[in-house]
Each structure stands twice: as structure tokens, then as C-alpha cells.
């Protein structure tokens, strides 16, 4: 992507990962494949979203009390952002429901690094 000044700019990614154990892996992996990780947080916070204005949000919805509500709120805060959600939720309808409230890509438990790359680039 080229900015108006002609410099190559990288898409800004915010990672929301409640499992701190896994957050560095996602940050490193996403940075390595060419994105600018602007923030890592354990939960979606309105102030953080407004301050960072990410192009892409990667959300681990697996341990959220209300995952669909969270996806809907993220979409409302960041209408133009690309929203990637991953979760091993048992309900087979969950991916469709999540897309219905604003997720652009929903990844399941079998998703691997190429799937993550494809999801970010989609």
C-alpha cells in the first residue's frame, strides 16, 4: 500500500487476546508477515479503539462472556476496520452469527498460520 507521500505503509493491527500466554505469538507472527502491530490488549476497550484506530482487529472470542455482543460493539466502534475473529466455539452456527453482526473472517480451531495470513489479507 502506498501513502499519499509515496511511502509504503503497513496496515495497523490491534490484537485482542485474553490469554496473555498466546498474545506474543500472535504479535510476532503478524508482525513477521508484514503488518504493523499497534496494540495488544486482553479485552476490547473503547478508549484503546478510538486512540489506535486500527485497520485490522484480530479478536480471540473464545473466552469472552458475550462474543457476539463484543463483535457487534467492535463493528460499531470501527465501521471501516477489517475484523478477524477466531474461536473454538461449539455452536456450529457461530461463524454465521458472528459474520451477521460484523465479523469479516471467522476462523475455527483448525486454522493455521496460512489461514491467519489469508484472513488478514482478505
Amino acid at each position: 500500500m502506498l501513502s499519499t507521500a509515496g511511502r509504503r505503509t503497513r496496515k495497523r493491527v490491534l490484537i485482542i487476546e485474553p490469554q496473555a500466554l498466546f498474545a506474543p505469538y500472535f504479535a510476532d507472527t503478524i508482525a513477521t508477515i508484514g503488518f504493523d502491530v499497534v496494540g495488544v490488549d486482553a479485552a476490547p476497550r473503547a478508549r484503546t479503539l478510538q486512540r489506535l484506530r486500527p485497520d485490522i482487529v484480530v479478536l480471540d472470542a473464545g473466552h469472552l462472556p458475550s462474543p457476539l455482543r463484543t463483535v457487534r460493539a467492535l463493528r460499531a466502534h470501527l465501521p471501516g476496520a477489517h475484523l478477524v475473529v477466531y474461536a473454538p466455539l461449539a455452536d456450529e452456527a457461530w461463524p454465521l452469527l458472528a459474520q451477521g453482526v460484523g465479523a469479516d473472517v471467522v476462523m475455527g480451531p483448525r486454522a493455521d498460520e496460512p489461514d491467519l495470513l489469508a484472513a488478514l489479507a482478505a
Binding site: A20, L21, P24, F26, P109, R110, D112
Partner: protein, 215 residues
């Protein structure tokens, strides 16, 4: 007490249902010279986990079947020399109790950093146990309130079901027919119930069930 000697590295097998999280875990251990990752599994399959001969099994319970005793029992059956470290997102004394009762040596909550995980797992490899200090307090309080008596909450849902039928006077064969389980499986459940409740007779089990209000 089983102690792991790290002459060529502590052999770790990772059991993690989600592929990306499994990569994260394997990477954390692979980046530390003290460890050698010898297995990466989605479920604790007996044949493959046993072949890896791990010193430690690190299993993320989130995403595994809800019967903790059965899941951890499978790990220990597959790798009887291994020490099992449980990862979980639940800051729950009840869940921790179930894991320890089922044979886990560590209960680690996943809101810690990778270096903290490595420290905890090394503690277990040295022959000690590790429990998240935030959960341990709750467990001690529960133990104190029950005056050290065994707790019915330590039973899995299936074990509670079997206990209820024991209290109703059913024999193992009748329980197996009622629950559509083999008689051997029922026997295993009964053994675990006796062990968890520290009892040796079905009548004592019935008393526990009545006191706990499950019959």
C-alpha cells in the same frame, strides 16, 4: 516423587486443541534450551502420546472434553512416567481441585506471560507441584471450611451420576445398563469415586450422596 533430569532437555508433549495456540506453546518451549518438544497433539491419544515418551505433558483443558478426570487419566495412562501440567482460563478452585485429584501436578492459568509459564513448568520438572497462587487461596479456604473432609464437588459429572445410582442400590451391571457404559468403565468410575471420597464401601458412598443431596 517423579523428578525429571534435564541432561538433554526436558521432553515436553503439548496437547492443545487449537492449531495456532499449539504453535504458540511449542514455540515457547522450543525457544528455551531446557526443553525439547517431543509431541504436538490436538487430543491426548493414548498410542501417539505414549510413543513420544514425554517427561511432561502440557495440556490446555479449554477445548478438551469436559470430563477432566477422563482426559487427564488418558494422559497418565498413555505416559505414566510423565508429569501433567494443566493450562486453563478458569480461575476456579473447583476446577483446580478436580485437576489435582485427577493426577495433574500443575494448574496454570493462561493469563500469564510465556516466561512465567516456563518458570512454572520447570518447577514441575524439578519434582515440585505448581498451582496458580490466586486459585490456591480459594482452595485452601474451601478445605478449611470443610475441615479437610473429602468434597463431593471433586467428582466429575459422570462420577456424580454413578454415585447417585450406587446410592439407589444398583449394582455395577445395572449401572452399566442404565448409563450405556461397559461394566469395566463403571468399575473404573466406582474406583475413582472411592478414591476421591476416601471411602472403601458402597454404603459409605450412599451416605455421601445423601448428605450432598444428590439423591
Amino acid at each position: 516423587m517423579k523428578t525429571v533430569v534435564a541432561s538433554v532437555g526436558i521432553r515436553v508433549a503439548v496437547v492443545e486443541s487449537q492449531v495456532l495456540f499449539a504453535k504458540a506453546l511449542c514455540g515457547i518451549f522450543a525457544d528455551d534450551d531446557a526443553f525439547v518438544v517431543v509431541g504436538d497433539y490436538r487430543t491426548p491419544a493414548i498410542d501417539t502420546l505414549g510413543l513420544a515418551e514425554p517427561d511432561l505433558v502440557v495440556i490446555d483443558l479449554d477445548g478438551q472434553p469436559v470430563d477432566v478426570a477422563r482426559t487427564l487419566g488418558t494422559c497418565l495412562e498413555a505416559a505414566p512416567k510423565a508429569r501433567v501440567c494443566v493450562l486453563s482460563m478458569h480461575l476456579s478452585p473447583e476446577m483446580m481441585q478436580r485437576c489435582l485429584t485427577a493426577g495433574a501436578e500443575a494448574y496454570i492459568v493462561k493469563d500469564i506471560s510465556p516466561p512465567e509459564l516456563l518458570r512454572a513448568v520447570k518447577t514441575v520438572a524439578e519434582g515440585q507441584s505448581y498451582v496458580d497462587p490466586r486459585v490456591a487461596g480459594g482452595l485452601l479456604r474451601r478445605r478449611s471450611q470443610s475441615n479437610g473432609k473429602p468434597d463431593i464437588m471433586e467428582l466429575s459429572a459422570r462420577e456424580a451420576e454413578v454415585l447417585k445410582l450406587i446410592a439407589e442400590g444398583l449394582a455395577n451391571k445395572q449401572i452399566s445398563a442404565r448409563l450405556h457404559l461397559s461394566e469395566k468403565t463403571v468399575k473404573n468410575h466406582v474406583s475413582r469415586i472411592f478414591s476421591k471420597l476416601n471411602i472403601s464401601a458402597r454404603t459409605q458412598a450412599a451416605v455421601h450422596a445423601i448428605r450432598a443431596g444428590i439423591v
